[in-house]
Subunit: 85 residues, 4 copies
């Protein structure tokens, strides 16, 4: 399993084989703009989040379904998500 | 409560005070393009979905939190979502 | 014509009846995320930019076609665009 | 130069080293949803369009700047753009 300590210090938690974080924005407009940037990174990496959105809140679950494990693909996307906030 | 029979014939179900539908697309690219259009309609109407996305699937929950009920705002957004597929 | 002095101090120029500004981002990902947020504000206001994008650069032209003039709709959207960077 | 005859039959024109097409949609909402899908394909391919948007119209210019020529990257993205309409 990849090292997640830096992510955990930045609001991510590890739940089983999944990285979880809730992102809060001021508005839906800011939340969805961020989702649009993240979507571009996800498609480029061919690694997509399971995520839900309710107004200004986005809850993200990252895992590597094909490996049934948490992998470097997940930590890489998590870092990109943080960098885009 | 607004009439939902036409929506129910088009794949929506009523669960308590919530309209629910799962949309399936061929790819993440198509799913997220649709979400981008829906986001524009939602922000314009100032009425936002609770929705989750996993690759090519988007699951939508619509309710009017302020009214603690299903209202015309929900059925209007549901119709726009269907029209944009 | 609305007052544009604060916008002009923030990189906008007035060319005839049009407000013009070039926005530069680090990457296409950041440029398009910003465009997605701006699109939501534009659709909500029912006032849309003429804009072009080339990788990390977005060039915006704002005018009110119906009035053949620069109006408060343009300065309002310009301020929102700046706030979203 | 790649073969562009099928694209030219589908509304594209070749202007020097550039493929050009104007896409018209019913609404801004549909235009921007399409742009969001195209943006995902472009970022994935690391090949981005020069494009401009005015309400329901998107004008696209495709060329490969690094090659100073029209290449297979351009025709591939053009086909994806057509497929996403």
């Amino acid at each position: 399993m990849p090292n997640t300590s830096d992510l955990e210090q930045n609001g991510w938690s590890v739940e089983g084989e999944t990285l979880v974080k809730q992102f809060k924005f001021k508005t839906f407009v800011q939340a969805f703009g961020w989702m649009s940037s993240v979507a571009l990174e996800a498609e480029k990496a061919d690694h997509h989040p399971d995520w839900s959105n309710s107004y200004n809140t986005v809850t993200v679950h990252l895992t590597t379904h094909s490996a049934k494990a948490l992998t470097e693909k997940d930590t890489a996307l998590a870092h990109k998500m943080d960098a885009l906030t």
